[in-house]
Symmetry: C2
Subunit: 321 residues, 2 copies
C-alpha cells in the first residue's frame, strides 16, 4: 500500500467538494474537468485510506471521517494562503528583518542619528543591530550571520561589496590640566613621547591608534587599556594620559568641555573611514545600496562638520585605509 502524502491541490479539491456537495459544480468553480476532480478526490481517499464522500447519482454527502478532517484541511489551506500572502508582501518591498552588525566604537554614536530616517523611508523594514568587533563582523557577514555591516575600513574580503560612507576625524583628547591643554595649536612634534591611552586590543580602533602613535612618535600606554571609549575618556579625565577619540563619539558623549580639552593635530590627517558592507550575492543588495545613500545623506545633513563624505564611486570597491 503506497501512502503518498496528499497534495495541496487535493486538499483544495476536497474542501471545494465539501462546499458544494456536487462534483460538477465544484469542478467548474475550480476550473478543472469533473473527471479530474473525481480522480483527485479518489487519490486523496486512497492516500488517507478513508472514504470521504458517499457518492450517489442523487447527491454527494460527507462521511463522518470527512467531517472530522475538514477543519484541519481548512487550516492547512489557510496556512498556505498566509505563506503566499507573506511572500507576496516580501516580494513587494523590504519587509524583512535584516541583521546589521556594527563596530562598538561607531554604532552607538552614529546609528541614533541615522536609523530614524531609515525607518521612516522603509517603514516595513526592520534592522536587528548587533555590536561586534570589526574582524568578527567581516567573517559573520561572509558566513551569513549578518546581512550588512557598518565597519571601519580596510575590509579586504573578496565577494563583499564595500561602500565607503564618510571620513570621521579622530581628535586628540587630554585633561584640562595637561601641559598641552593651553596650547592653541598642537602640531606633530608636540606629541613626541606623549603617553597615549588606548582601547582594548581586539578593537579595530586599537590598531589604528597604534599606527598613529608610531607615526607621530608618541608612546602607546599598554598597561591599562580601556574596555570602551567611555572608559578611555574616564582615564583621560583622571590624567592617566591623552587619547585619540573619534569625533562622533566626542559629539555624542562629551558634554562637559571644561574637564577635557579637545584638539586636533595640525598638519596631520587623522581620521578613519567607515563603510557599509554586504555580500555581493545578497538579494537585497539594491536595498542596501539605497540604505548606504540614506546614511550618507543623513550624515552629511546632520553630522557636519565632524564628518566628510567619501566620494561616491560607482565601482565596487575593495576597501583601502
Amino acid at each position: 500500500m503506497k501512502r503518498r502524502s496528499p497534495t495541496i491541490r487535493q486538499v483544495q479539491y476536497f474542501v471545494s467538494v465539501v462546499e458544494t456537495l456536487n462534483f460538477r459544480s465544484a469542478a467548474a468553480t475550480l476550473d478543472v474537468s469533473q473527471p479530474t476532480l473525481s480522480h483527485q478526490i479518489a487519490a486523496l481517499e486512497e492516500s488517507f485510506g478513508l472514504q470521504l464522500f458517499e457518492r450517489s447519482r442523487a447527491g454527494t454527502i460527507m462521511t463522518a471521517a470527512a467531517r472530522e478532517l475538514l477543519p484541519g484541511a481548512r487550516r492547512l489551506l489557510e496556512e498556505l494562503q498566509g505563506l503566499c500572502d507573506q511572500a507576496e508582501s516580501l516580494a513587494l518591498g523590504p519587509a524583512a528583518t535584516y541583521r546589521l552588525g556594527v563596530t562598538p566604537t561607531l554604532g552607538p554614536y552614529l546609528l541614533p542619528h541615522v536609523l530614524p530616517a531609515v525607518h521612516k523611508r522603509y517603514a516595513a523594514l526592520k534592522l536587528y543591530v548587533r555590536e561586534d568587533a570589526p574582524r568578527n563582523l567581516e567573517s559573520a557577514l561572509v558566513s551569513g550571520d549578518h546581512d550588512l555591516i557598518l565597519t571601519p575600513l580596510p575590509v579586504d574580503q573578496p565577494d563583499l561589496t564595500v561602500v565607503p560612507l564618510f571620513n570621521e576625524p579622530v581628535r586628540l583628547v587630554m585633561s584640562s590640566d595637561h601641559r598641552l591643554a593651553e596650547k592653541s595649536r598642537i602640531v606633530r612634534k608636540d606629541l613626541a613621547g606623549e603617553r597615549v591611552l588606548t582601547i582594548e586590543e581586539h578593537h579595530h580602533f586599537h590598531q589604528q591608534t597604534q599606527e598613529l602613535c608610531a607615526r607621530l612618535g608618541a608612546h602607546l600606554l599598554r598597561d591599562y587599556e580601556g574596555t570602551s571609549l567611555d572608559t578611555l575618556r574616564q582615564m583621560v579625565v583622571m590624567g592617566m594620559g591623552v587619547a585619540f577619540l573619534p569625533a562622533l563619539y566626542i559629539r555624542s558623549e562629551i558634554h562637559r568641555p571644561q574637564e577635557l580639552r579637545i584638539a586636533r593635530v595640525h598638519g596631520e590627517d587623522i581620521q578613519r573611514t567607515h563603510a557599509l558592507v554586504w555580500r555581493k550575492t545578497s538579494p537585497a543588495r539594491s536595498l542596501f545600496r539605497e540604505i548606504a545613500n540614506e546614511i550618507r545623506s543623513v550624515a552629511a545633513a546632520t553630522l557636519s562638520p565632524e564628518i566628510k563624505l567619501v566620494q561616491t564611486s560607482r565601482r565596487k570597491m575593495i576597501g583601502s585605509a
Copy 2:
C-alpha cells in the same frame, strides 16, 4: 508571470535545505537527486517571486525573506502532518463522531442502557444523538444529516439497510380508579368504546395507537393529545382516559405503581419493533452492524423481560411491520 501556488513538496524541500544549508545532503535526506532539489527550490523561488537562498560553492545561506517565511512553512508542514495523523487514526478505527437520530418515544428510555456499553467497546467513537420524529429521521438519514437512526418499523426507503433489533411490547395504562383497574385479566372486548389518549400526530407512535384502537374497537381521543409520553402519563393519572405506552418507557419512568395500573391485553400481540438503520453506501456500515449487535446483546441482557429480540437475519431487510 505565472504564479502557481507552491507545492507541499516544495515547502518540505525548502525546510530541508534550511536545516542543512547544503543542497546535496538535503537531497540525500529527502531521498531525491540534487538536481531535483535545486530545480524545485528554484521553482518555489519563482512562485514566491523571492530569492530564498544565497548559493555559492562555498556554502548556502538563507536570505532575510527565507528567514521570514520559515516559521510559516514549518506551520504548514505541521498542519499537514496533523491532518495525516488524524486520517491515519481515523482509518485505524472508528474515532469519528457519528450522528445518531432517535425517536423521542424510544431514545431516552433505551439509550441510557445501551450507550455506556457502546462507548466502552469503541472508546474513540462518539455518538451525537438527536431526537426527531421517525419520518424526519428517515429523510434526514437519506440526505446525510444523520449517519444512523434508531426508529420503529416500518421503514420503506430503498438504499437503506434496516436491521431490526427487538420487539417492545406496548402496555395498557389506566388510572388506579378506572373501571378496569381491578380486573385481573383484560381482553379485547373489555376495551370496546374505551377512551384512549394518544401522543401528538407527528409521532409514529400516534399512528400505531390509532391502528391499535381501530383493531380493538376502542375510541381514540383526539381532543387533547400529549406532546410527550410523560404528558400522556399525566393525562392518564388525571383520569382523562387510558393510554397505550411502550414497555421501555414504563420501565424507565413509572416508579409509583399505586397511582397507575399497568396491564396487558390478553390474546393480543401488541408491540412495536425497533430497528437500526443506515445508508447502504455508508462507509461505516460494518461498524454500524457491530453496533446493532451490541445493542441487541445489551438489550437482551438488561432489558428482559420487557423486550424480545428479533431473529437475526443475514439478508438486508426492508422493514415490515
